[in-house]
Amino acid sequence: MNTIRQWARQLIEAKISLRAAMLLAACSSALLLGLMVIWLGMSTRTALLDKQLEDLDGTQTALTDQINQTWTQIGEVTSPRVMEPRARQLGFEPARRIEYLIVSPTITATETVTPAVALTVTTIVTQ
C-alpha cells in the first residue's frame, strides 16, 4: 500500500514535459485500441464458433434424419410384406413337411478334435 502511495506521489510531483505527456497519451490510446481490437477479435471468433456449433448441430440433426430415413427404407424393403411375395416370386416357399434324420454320434480318437455332440439333428426340407 505504501509503495503505491509513494509511486502516485512521485507521479504527481514529477514534472513531465508536454512531449512526454503526449507520448504517454498516444501509448495509452494505442494500448486501448489494441485491447479493443483484441476484444473485437475474440468476440467475432466466439460468435463464429457459436454459429459453427449451431451449424454442426443442424448437420448432426440432418445426418440423424438421413440415417433414420435409410433405416426406414431398409426396414420397408426387408419387411415380410415385401420379402414374402418376392421370395414366392423367386420360387421359395415355407417347407410343407420337414423330415428329421438322426445323425449317429461321432467319436474320434484324435485328441485335437473336440468330440461331437451326442445327437445332431439335421433338417431335410421337402416340398
Binding site: T61, D65, W71, G75, P80
Partner: protein, 555 residues
C-alpha cells in the same frame, strides 16, 4: 442548481442501484432468446434387429386464422399434398378461420401432420409462387412403422407431442423419449445456457418379426374361415415368459393411428391381448387338475362317477354334451372336457384350498407384462359378499371369472414351466444413447406347483390331446394342450355363440413354446377343437421351425 443536481444524482442512484435488479430482469427478458432442440425418439427393433418403429423428420401445418384470407387459393395448393379434395380442405380452412375469430376458439388449427420433408418443400414453393400466406409450418419428428400393421397393437402409437400411447410406445415412453435441448442467449457472444439434446433409448423386443408376420397372417386367414369377428394368438417362450409373437384381430396400422383417433375410432386403438377380458372356459380345467394333484385331492388314477348333472344351491351344472360319462379318471376329464367331475373335484377340495392355489396361478391380478393398459381380470373369492358355492364350481372350469389372453397363457404356462409362474415380458433390452445396454432378465414370480405335479399333468394332457384333439399333433413333436369353450353373453343374456380358446405346449416332455389361440363367436363351429386347434397346429409347427426347437419324436 444544487438541488437539481442532487435530485438527478438521487434518481440515478435509484435507477442504477435500488431498482437495478428489476430493470436488469426486464432487459434480460427482452434480450434473451431461448431455442429448444429436439432429437428423435428412440427406435424399436425385434429380437433379430429388424426395425419396427423409428422417427423421421416430419412437418405439421397449422392455419393462422389472423392472416389466412384466401382459403380457396391455399386449399388448391394444399389439397394435392394432403391427398384430399380442394373443397374438403377449403371447408376445413374456413372452419378454422371462423373459429379463430371467436373469443374462445375451440378447433385445432392443425391442417396436416406427418408431412415428409419433400412434400413440405414442394408445398412451400407452391405457396411462395402463388404469393399465398396464412400457414405456419412446424418442424418435428414424426413416427414411422416400416412394417406397417405388423405388431401394430403391441407397438402402440405416438401423438404429435410426441408422447407414446398404448403398447410399447406407452409403457416405455420415458425410455424412448428424447431429452429436449435448450439454448438461452442474449447474443451470439453472450450465451447463458446450453443443454444438449439427447436421443431416446432404442428398445429391443423379444418378438420375432418372421413369426409375428406368420401368426398375423394365420389369424387373419382363420378369421375368414371361421367367421369370427375377432381373435388373439400369443406365442410365449416357456422357460422365460418372453413373448415371441402376439397378434390380435382386428388390428391397426400405427402409421394411421392418429388419423383413426381424429376420425373417432380411438376405441380400435387397443391391444386386445392385454386389455380385453373374457371368460376363458375349460382351459382352466388344467389349473384345477393341477391344484387337485398338488394338494393330493386326486391322483391320475382316481375314478369319479360323472352323472352329467350337478345341482349346487339350486343351480344346475351340465357337461357341454349334456350327458353323463359314467366312471371317469383325470385323462377322461381332460380329453372330453367334462365340467361335472371338474366341479365335483373343486367342491371336494373346498373354497379355501382351491382359491389359495388358484390365486397363485395369477388369476384375478395383472401379469405385470411391460405393455400399457393391462386389465386385471375378475375373480370372486369367498371374501367377496357376492361369492357363492356356484362360483367355486364354475370357476373350476373357467366360467364366472374373466381374464385377459395374456393372463390365461401365463397362468397355464406354469404347467409347462415345471410349476413356476413367470412374469411375461416383451422388451429384451434397451440401449441408451451413451452406449449403456440395460438387459432385462426373466422374472420368476413364484412356485405354484411342484415339478413332479407339472410333469404328471403334462403327460396326462399329452395323452388327452392325442385322444381329444389329434389335429393339434405336430409331426416330430409331442403336444400337450387343452381346449376351452365359453358361452358368449351380451348384456348379461346368453347368446348362441361362444368364445373358443386353445392353450398348448410343445414339446410336451420339455416344453419350449407355449401358444394360446382365442377366437370370439366363430360361426363355422362353436367348438374350440374345430376352430382354434388347426391354428394352434400351424402356429406351433412354424414357431418350432423358426426358433429351431429340435423335434423330440424321431422315427
Amino acid at each position: 442548481m444544487g438541488i437539481t443536481i442532487l435530485l438527478a444524482v438521487a434518481r440515478a442512484i435509484q435507477v442504477q442501484v435500488v431498482e437495478s435488479p428489476k430493470y436488469y430482469a426486464q432487459a434480460s427478458y427482452q434480450q434473451t432468446q431461448t431455442r429448444y432442440t429436439q432429437s428423435p425418439r428412440g427406435a424399436i427393433f425385434d429380437r433379430s434387429g429388424n426395425l419396427l418403429a423409428i422417427s423421421n423428420r416430419a412437418y405439421i401445418i397449422r392455419a393462422d386464422a389472423r392472416t389466412l384470407t384466401d382459403t380457396a387459393g391455399v386449399a388448391s395448393a394444399l389439397a394435392p399434398a394432403l391427398g384430399q379434395s380442394v373443397e374438403d380442405v377449403r371447408k376445413h380452412l374456413d372452419a378454422i378461420v371462423v373459429d379463430g375469430q371467436s373469443v374462445t376458439p375451440t378447433l385445432s388449427t392443425i391442417v396436416a401432420f406427418d408431412l415428409s420433408p419433400s412434400v413440405t418443400r414442394q408445398l412451400t414453393e407452391t405457396l411462395e409462387t402463388m404469393g399465398r400466406g396464412g400457414l405456419l409450418i412446424d418442424e418435428t419428428w414424426g413416427r414411422d412403422y416400416p412394417q406397417g400393421a405388423v405388431a401394430g397393437p403391441t407397438l402402440g402409437f405416438v401423438s404429435l407431442q410426441p408422447t407414446g400411447y398404448s403398447g410399447i410406445e406407452g409403457f416405455y415412453n420415458s425410455e424412448l423419449t428424447a431429452e429436449t435441448g435448450e439454448r438461452k442467449e442474449r447474443s451470439r457472444m453472450d450465451v447463458l445456457v446450453v443443454t444438449p439434446t439427447t436421443s431416446g433409448a432404442d428398445v429391443v423386443l423379444t418378438l420375432d418379426l418372421t413369426l409375428q408376420a406368420f401368426v398375423e397372417n394365420r389369424l387373419a386367414q382363420a378369421i375368414q374361415e371361421t367367421g369370427a369377428p375377432s381373435g388373439t394368438v400369443i406365442v410365449m417362450e416357456t422357460k422365460t415368459g418372453a413373448i415371441l409373437a402376439s397378434a390380435s384381430y382386428p388390428s391397426y396400422d400405427p402409421n394411421r393411428a392418429l388419423e383413426m383417433a381424429s376420425d373417432g375410432q380411438i376405441g380400435l386403438l387397443k391391444d386386445r391381448a392385454v386389455s380385453e377380458l373374457y371368460e376363458p372356459g375349460s382351459v382352466i380345467k388344467i389349473a384345477t387338475m393341477a391344484i387337485a394333484l398338488e394338494t393330493g385331492q386326486i391322483t391320475t388314477s382316481t375314478l369319479m362317477t360323472d352323472t352329467g348333472k350337478l345341482v349346487i344351491d339350486g343351480k344346475r351344472i351340465y357337461n357341454s354334451d349334456r350327458s353323463g360319462h359314467g366312471v371317469v379318471d383325470m385323462e377322461d376329464i381332460l380329453a372330453r372336457s367334462l365340467n361335472v367331475p371338474t366341479a365335483m373335484t373343486a367342491l371336494d377340495m373346498g373354497p379355501e384350498k382351491f382359491y389359495s392355489h388358484f390365486r397363485l396361478f395369477g388369476f384375478g391380478s395383472r401379469t405385470g407384462i411391460d405393455l400399457g393398459d393391462e386389465a386385471a381380470g375378475v375373480l370372486r373369492t369367498p371374501s367377496d359378499v357376492t361369492w357363492s358355492r356356484t362360483d367355486l364350481a364354475t370357476n373350476s372350469f373357467g366360467q364366472g371369472m374373466s381374464s385377459t389372453p395374456y393372463q390365461v397363457i401365463n397362468s397355464l404356462n406354469v404347467i409347462a414351466n415345471d410349476g413356476v409362474l413367470m412374469q411375461p415380458y416383451i422388451v429384451k433390452e434397451w440401449r441408451e444413447p451413451n452406449g449403456n445396454v440395460i438387459a432385462k432378465q426373466p422374472v420368476p414370480k413364484g412356485r405354484v406347483i411342484s415339478p413332479a405335479t407339472a410333469r404328471t399333468l403334462r403327460q396326462v394332457m399329452a395323452i388327452a390331446t392325442r385322444r381329444g384333439t389329434p389335429k393339434a399333433e405336430i409331426a416330430g413333436y409331442t403336444v400337450a394342450g387343452k381346449t376351452g369353450t365359453a358361452d358368449w353373453y351380451l348384456q348379461g343374456i346368453k347368446q348362441d355363440t361362444t368364445i373358443v380358446t386353445y392353450v398348448g405346449f410343445v414339446p410336451a416332455e420339455d416344453p419350449q413354446i407355449t401358444v394360446l389361440v382365442k377366437l370370439d363367436q366363430p360361426s363355422s363351429s362353436k367348438w374350440a377343437a374345430e376352430t382354434t386347434v388347426p391354428i394352434f397346429h400351424d402356429v406351433a409347427e412354424r414357431a418350432c421351425q423358426i426358433l429351431g426347437v429340435p423335434p423330440n419324436v424321431l422315427k
